[in-house]
């Protein structure tokens, strides 16, 4: 089967949808809406009408977030179905990212309930509890009375061997950060393994994109935890994802080895993003936010470039998912912003 046979139909479909999404300009309409009521009305004539219906019924923005998550999962499944074969399997595997995020959310809820002893009542009902990719027993997880119960709920999934590395005591002591980083790493391990199913061109394209994403994530970790939180070299190294150019580079090695008080985020970034604006005279928190925004913009540009390239590779599907995810993220952020009464300018600043 040629790449045109594989991607011809799905490419046309995805592009048509992207075109329609551009026409609808949903996020722009949401931003311009003066209140949440107006923002919800702006959703009604669009492909997000289900969100408005959900809000009408519940009055709760969290219900909208659940609908968006369901839409995102359905999107991956639909494209996987159109692609069939190894490409379809690979796309389905991409759901692993959503699954890990859902797992992290569930563990956070469990943590809140069992470790912090806070009621999680309705919040548990806003979790997605169906099978995403692996048979995680979500209900058992959030109802687990101990960490062992959480581990048990992930039986027969790639997360099961990871979770016993942590104990209730260690989590109580250190929080969830290390565990979440570890789960993120599992996702990259799994998806990199899955690229082996693909044909050469697709494999290269997928790995290239993953490495780009990993590079940006590693830069973010280096800035946030190496420069802002000033973690020790060993701790910092353990957080990095062991792939991509950034991880392998001498500059990063040097940066990690530099005494934590003397690390320079500006110098580090200039090595990898020479065209970007230098780190300015903002406060450290603002600086981290600005760098995060800068890296996110970089990633967005990379995916947009993909759409202009060869239309018959897995890259177009990956770009499509990314752009949709971006839109979902923006919608969530804007609606939350409107709910809390922030003005248009402020929300624009936050969502980038």
């Amino acid at each position: 089967m040629s790449s045109i046979d594989t991607y011809g139909f799905v490419n046309a479909k995805m592009r048509a949808r992207l075109g329609k999404a551009r026409e609808e300009a949903v996020t722009e309409a949401l931003l311009r809406a003066p209140t949440l009521v107006d923002a919800i009305a702006a959703l009604r004539p669009t492909r997000y009408a289900a969100l408005a219906r959900s809000y009408d019924q519940s009055g709760d923005i969290q219900s909208i977030e659940l609908v968006l998550l369901k839409m995102e999962i359905a999107l991956y499944r639909e494209i996987a179905q159109y692609l069939d074969g190894v490409e379809g399997r690979f796309v389905a595997e991409l759901l692993g990212k959503i699954e890990i995020d859902n797992l992290k959310n569930s563990i956070r809820l469990w943590y809140s309930s069992i470790i912090h002893r806070r009621p999680i009542r309705h919040r548990s009902e806003y979790l997605f509890k169906e099978v995403i990719l692996h048979p995680v027993d979500w209900t058992a997880l959030i109802n687990a009375l101990s960490w062992d119960g959480v581990v048990e709920a992930t039986a027969n999934t790639p997360y099961h061997p990871i979770l016993p590395e942590y104990t209730e005591g260690s989590l109580r002591e250190e929080g969830l950060f290390q565990l979440e980083s570890r789960l993120d790493r599992v996702w990259y391990e799994e998806i990199r393994k899955a690229t082996a199913w693909l044909k050469k061109t697709d494999r290269q394209k997928a790995l290239e994109l993953l490495d780009q994403e990993i590079d940006l994530k590693n830069l973010l970790i280096l800035v946030r935890y190496g420069w802002y939180h000033r973690l020790e070299a060993k701790e910092l190294l353990s957080l990095l994802l062991p792939w991509g150019e950034v991880f392998k580079s001498k500059e990063v090695n040097r940066y990690i080895e530099t005494p934590k008080e003397n690390r320079s985020a500006s110098e580090l970034l200039s090595q990898f993003l020479p065209d970007e604006q230098r780190v300015g005279d903002h406060s450290a928190v603002e600086e981290v936010l600005r760098i995060e925004e800068l890296l996110a913009q970089n990633q967005k540009r990379a995916y947009r470039r993909l759409l202009g390239g060869d239309p018959f590779t897995i890259g177009v599907a990956l770009a499509y998912f990314f752009l949709n995810k971006e839109e979902f993220r923006r919608i969530k952020a804007i609606l939350n912003g409107k709910y809390y009464g922030f003005d248009e300018g402020y929300i624009r600043g936050v969502i980038g």
Binding site: A41, S58, D60, R121, H122, L145
Partner: protein, 663 residues
């Protein structure tokens, strides 16, 4: 209905500035002026004119109107249509007051939504327990029976409420507590505070299960009702302000339109000047309206469409409401040139004939007709209904398609594929299956192909004739006579047809050798070759060209070769393209034949079901194919002969929209 596009006149008017608001109202009410910017005046005159910034920002008006619409939609109320606008109510927009009304209502709604959110969250908590109970997932639940020694059970329930736990009295002494096991670490200390004493009587335990089940059901229903009630309150809160919202919407919309009109105005110190196109038959009423609104202090001048370049005149076409589906087909393609034929009626005839030939069946046509009638009725009864797969336009079109299909079905004697009555023309299915009687008008598929080719020839010639009429009206006599779609092209096409039919008539052995054929072909080709030269001569005479003879000569050879190629291949392919009509018709008859055969093989109820399913499949698939192919033949084979689509649509500003402005 006009056979041609409506004649237009260009109005230029000067009124006193102090009367300009009244003039705007009058023009809005009439809604027939397609404004243009004053740009054709001399530069020194233009310099004396100025445009005034609008007193109200149109974006603000639009935003406010958007907010009103958002609220009405939130209340599931219909938006007021433009037809409800009354220009006499046009008033200065009270932007701040409107904003205050909208803010107040929005705050009310947000407060209600907050209450709805709380109710919904409580409901979710109950649903979780209810689900575990229904699925017997006792491992997540904690049900205990006991007594409260300190304090009252109501107080205990209040303390446990953040965890969604229920306390239900069993009798005067004992109560049951239902909670989630994951919350036990927090619930146990609370129970201890109330001096909780556990009771292990199995009878009481059983009673407790029944009681909590009932309690959960009651709570669940109560919360659903509460949530629904709040949703109704939201609707009520908006409905109560409906009149006010409609009034605000109307005034905002009127002001937007008024501002739109004023944006075309230019001003001197004391006067206002504007210009726009009006259908000639409306010119007098526009003049009267301006004179009346300005108290006679105005100057109105008219310029005829013939005095300005044709391509700058907007095109208004009027078709009766019943022809709307076909008008939309034309509009979807393009706007005809000013002064040319309005193709709607021809499209209707051609489209319905093609569809009928491809999909002739009385029964299936009746189904289309009924779907169309019910669909149209449903949209008429519920004007706010969201358009689905069968849009308003499609349901209207289905009525015509159904009638066409029924007519041709009667001609072919086909009733749901069954020959219930003798055909009025010929039995299509019998011709396809090869068992038509020897006396039949059409006995085989070749006969059917012949009919559709003849039909195609009629369509192409109709297109050519319309093209000649258009060119004659445009006074483009050279292309009318010498172009490939002109008379020369028509003669060549006719000669080709004569030769083709002669060839078929001789059982594909020889072409006719009539003595007039060769001279006709030669003369036509010479005329075709001469066209650029004749055109150049005419253009030179009228001073419309600066091309040299050499340039014309250089281009003429290539043009001639392309034209000849297009005539011989284009006409041939266009004509043969109509064989698809036969193809679809044959496929339709074959499919029905197959389903009838399957039905006879299976028999009984299953056979009837196969027959019904077959008919449904044919209606959906063949109906769709026939509809698309008819559209394609109209757009490519028919329109390409005469329809340039170079017109610009007439778009008047007003409260009502003309039928040509529906796009």
């Amino acid at each position: 209905m006009n056979l041609f596009t409506k004649p237009m006149r260009l109005l230029t008017a000067v009124v006193l500035q102090q009367r300009s608001d009244q003039v705007v109202k009058a023009l809005l009410q009439l809604g027939v002026l397609d404004f243009i910017h004053i740009s054709r005046l001399e530069a020194d005159q233009l310099a004396k004119l100025s445009s005034k910034p609008s007193t109200t920002n149109r974006v603000v008006l639009e935003d406010l109107r958007g907010r009103v619409e958002a609220l009405l939609k939130q209340g599931h109320l219909a938006l007021p249509g433009e037809s409800t606008l009354d220009v006499s109510l046009l008033a200065e927009p009270q932007v701040d007051a409107y904003r205050a009304v909208l803010d107040e209502l929005t705050q009310t709604l947000l407060a209600l939504k907050e209450r709805q959110k709380v109710a919904n969250q409580a409901l979710l908590g109950v649903e979780e327990m209810r689900r575990y109970l229904a699925e017997s997932k006792w491992q997540y639940l904690d049900l205990r029976v006991g007594s409260v020694k300190e304090g009252k059970s109501e107080q205990l329930e209040e303390k446990l409420s953040p965890y969604g736990a229920f306390v239900e009295p069993i009798d005067e002494e004992f109560v049951t507590v239902l909670s989630l096991r994951r919350d036990l670490a927090q619930i146990d200390p609370l129970l201890d505070k109330f001096g909780w004493t556990e009771e292990s009587d199995p009878l009481l335990q059983k009673q407790a299960v029944v009681l909590v089940r009932t309690r959960l059901e009651t709570e669940h229903q109560k919360l659903i009702d509460k949530r629904g009630e709040i949703e109704q309150s939201v609707k009520r809160a908006i409905a109560e302000r409906k009149e006010e919202l409609h009034a605000i919407w109307s005034n905002l919309r009127l002001n937007e339109l008024s501002d739109q009109i004023k944006s075309y105005f230019s001003y001197t110190r004391n006067t206002t000047l504007f210009s726009g196109w009006v259908p000639a038959d409306q010119a007098e009423s526009v003049r009267n309206a301006i004179v009346e609104a300005s108290g006679g202090q105005c100057v109105v001048e008219w310029t005829e469409a013939t005095e300005v370049p044709r391509e700058s005149v907007p095109v208004a076409v009027t078709s009766p409401k019943v022809l709307e589906p076909f008008q939309n087909m034309v509009n979807n393609y393009a706007t005809p040139e000013y002064g040319t034929v309005n193709p709607t009626i021809f499209v209707m005839i051609a489209y319905l004939s093609m569809f009928g030939l491809m999909f002739g069946d009385v029964g299936q046509g009746l189904v289309l007709l009924l779907v169309g009638l019910f669909g149209s009725r449903s949209y008429r009864r519920n004007p706010e209904k969201k358009e689905g797969l069968l849009t308003r336009n499609v349901t209207n079109l289905l009525v015509y398609l159904g009638l066409s299909s029924m007519l041709f079905g009667a001609l072919f004697g086909s009733y749901f594929g069954l020959p219930l009555l003798p055909p009025l023309w010929f039995n299509f299915e019998a011709a396809v299956e090869g068992h038509a009687p020897a006396t039949a008008l059409v006995r085989d598929v070749y006969g059917i192909l012949g009919i559709t080719i003849r039909f195609g020839i009629i369509i192409i010639y109709t297109g050519l004739v319309l093209n000649w009429v258009n060119l004659f009206r445009k006074k483009s006599f050279v292309p009318m006579l010498l172009d490939k779609n002109g008379v020369v092209g028509g003669v060549l096409f006719g000669t080709g047809i004569y030769m083709a039919f002669g060839f078929v008539g001789s059982s594909y052995r020889s072409f006719p050798s009539d003595p007039w054929i060769i001279p006709t072909l030669v003369i036509c080709l010479i005329l075709l070759f001469a066209k650029p030269y004749v055109q150049h001569f005419v253009d030179l005479k009228q001073g419309r060209t600066d091309k040299t003879f050499g340039q014309v000569a250089a281009g003429s050879i290539m043009e001639f070769l392309v034209d000849v190629l297009e005539i011989f291949t284009g006409y041939l392919s266009n004509t043969l393209s109509f064989m698809r009509v036969a193809g679809l018709g044959i496929a339709h008859a074959s499919l029905m034949g197959t389903f009838k055969y399957l039905q006879s093989m299976v028999g009984g109820v299953a056979g009837v079901l196969i027959f019904i399913a077959g008919n449904l499949l044919v209606i959906v698939l063949e109906g769709l194919s026939a509809g698309i192919q008819s559209l394609r033949l109209n757009y490519y084979e028919f329109f390409s002969r005469y329809f340039t689509g170079r017109g610009i649509a007439y778009r008047p500003v007003g409260l009502k929209r003309s039928s040509s402005d529906n796009r």
